[in-house]
Amino acid sequence: MSAADVRQVAGSDLRRTARAVQEAALRWLSRNRAHFLLGDGALAPDGRVNDSWKPLGELAQVCSTLCARTPPSDPVHSCARELLAFAWRETGEGALFLPLQRGEPFATYPLEVYAAFASAGLRHPGYERAAATVAATRGWRLTEQHPTRRLGVLCAERQIGLHRDDHESELLARTWLGGLPEPWTFERASGYALTHVVFHLTDWGRGGPGLPAAVADHLAHWSPAWLVTCLEAGLWDLACEVAAVAALVPTARTDAAFEAALGETWPRIARAQYTSGALCEVDTRMPQAAPSQEAVPRDEGAPGPDGHGFRTCYHSTLMAAFAAGLTLARWDGVCDEPSPSWMTTGVPG
């Protein structure tokens, strides 16, 4: 299927819908950006990383990709750049990564969060020297990790120019996706594992070593079924991640049903999205365990006083903006063309 065919499948209505989902999600993220602030305990020895550095890193990761996948003239680019700049300032323009690393020298998350900024051209030479010192040890390289996690660390190291001898193909073969599993064994945990393998191999949709042919074929065959069943189950967060993965499958290996599944994702996500732009992780009307409907009021979508609404929505809202950006880039043919200059110059300012 040619890029023109893909664009034909992705009719203008679907394109407008995906774009509207993305813009609404970014508006909600911008309005609620104060919830991404690290807080006083971010450098504490017992700091709650999942409530501080993790959300900030995810914001940076998504915005870095959106900046790379849109031209500077696009309002989405401007919005993502502003959010990225906000997040970078929150890290003291990279300076906070130094005390963070001193607290846990062999923890990988500081490097992984930093790498999201570095991939957008936001760098702190002092931290990179410190990270390189630790990464040069045998102990760092021998850290025992699941292969999907290891691929994530390799992805992060790649962003700051560190390379090691790990064979990504061998690591990949030990992941759920890389082992080419029977597609009907897909469940939530394996779904999140597979999406992250793809994100790590593609530098979150910005490049990277890419997908080996067998993995790309596997995704081309089966991601429509995974995507549709996630949508049918109201697993909005995972559905957005799988949609992002599908958008990264090389176009030449796909078919009309594949493109239709990706396109039809957007009206369904649009219906699930609150008018505020927030998207819950799961459909609360579905039988699986889910946060309460009251967590985010449908009409305003603003987080409650305790921030609970933010926690249940921020990741899926980020993933909606991310997946929509990759889908639109696919439809625009950006994925198939040489990187224009705005994809490699990073984030200005």
Binding site: E182, P183, W184, H218, A225, W226, D255, A257
Partner: protein, 233 residues
């Protein structure tokens, strides 16, 4: 209440009959139809309705075995064919199911008595271009048409959409719709170029493990295995 009670009785009769067919398909080699003979000897209206629900699969052991069906099998199938002609307003799957029963009766022949005329193939254009989830749903209902060498419009259409049916098989398992999964699995046993990454044999085992308590599921899984083992009809 009365209707749901009747429905439950019919479901029970379908299960009994399907169980007889599934037992006859057990083993993977030549079929043994002792269990089936016990169930097809029933003659109530309920059994006739159950036979119509099961359709052409009532004769599946004979078809896959390559031997002539017994008198009671043919008698029940023929009476079910005659008793439930599809109205002109019937859903396409109902018309096709009825045609499949008549076609199979003609195919296996009858020990005695006239062979019914199945009539021309119903229209299949409604399936053309169907999205893969609904295509798989309809094909699963029409699983009795999934036989090696079957030449009809539905089978020809399915042969051009292997990947779509394979995706539907995945979706059905994800939805825990074991009946649809088993029917799709049976189609995949006769379709060309099934991606090996699907893992159809272990998928059928999984469907039986999870949904094999339903005799209709068991019937389709065993049919798929027999067909997949290369049985020629």
């Amino acid at each position: 209440m009365k209707q749901s009670g009747a429905s439950a009785l019919l479901q029970g009769a379908v299960q009994d009959l399907a169980s007889g067919v599934a037992s006859a398909l057990r083993g993977g080699g030549r079929t043994s139809r002792e269990d089936l003979h016990a169930t097809v000897r029933s003659t109530s209206d309920l059994d006739l309705a159950a036979a119509r629900v099961l359709g052409a699969d009532l004769l599946l052991p004979a078809v896959l075995d390559g031997t002539a069906p017994t008198g009671p099998e043919v008698d029940l199938a023929r009476r079910a064919f005659d008793a439930y002609p599809p109205p002109v307003t019937a859903a396409p799957t109902v018309a096709w199911s009825h045609w499949a029963l008549g076609h199979t009766l003609r195919r296996v022949g009858a020990p005695s008595g006239p062979v019914p005329e199945p009539g021309p193939e119903p229209d299949a254009s409604w399936l053309t271009g169907a999205p893969w989830p609904s295509l798989t749903h309809h094909l699963a209902v029409l699983a009795p048409l999934a036989l090696p060498g079957q030449d009809c419009a539905v089978a020809r259409l399915a042969r051009g959409r292997t990947l779509d049916v394979a995706r539907g098989f995945v979706r059905a398992i994800r939805r825990r719709d074991w009946y649809q999964a088993a029917g799709a699995g049976r189609w995949l046993a006769v379709l060309p170029d099934v991606p090996h990454t699907l893992g159809l044999p272990s998928g059928l085992d999984f469907v039986e493990l999870m949904g094999g308590g339903d005799a209709r599921v068991l019937l389709q899984v065993r049919a798929a295995r027999l067909i997949g083992s290369g049985v020629s009809v």
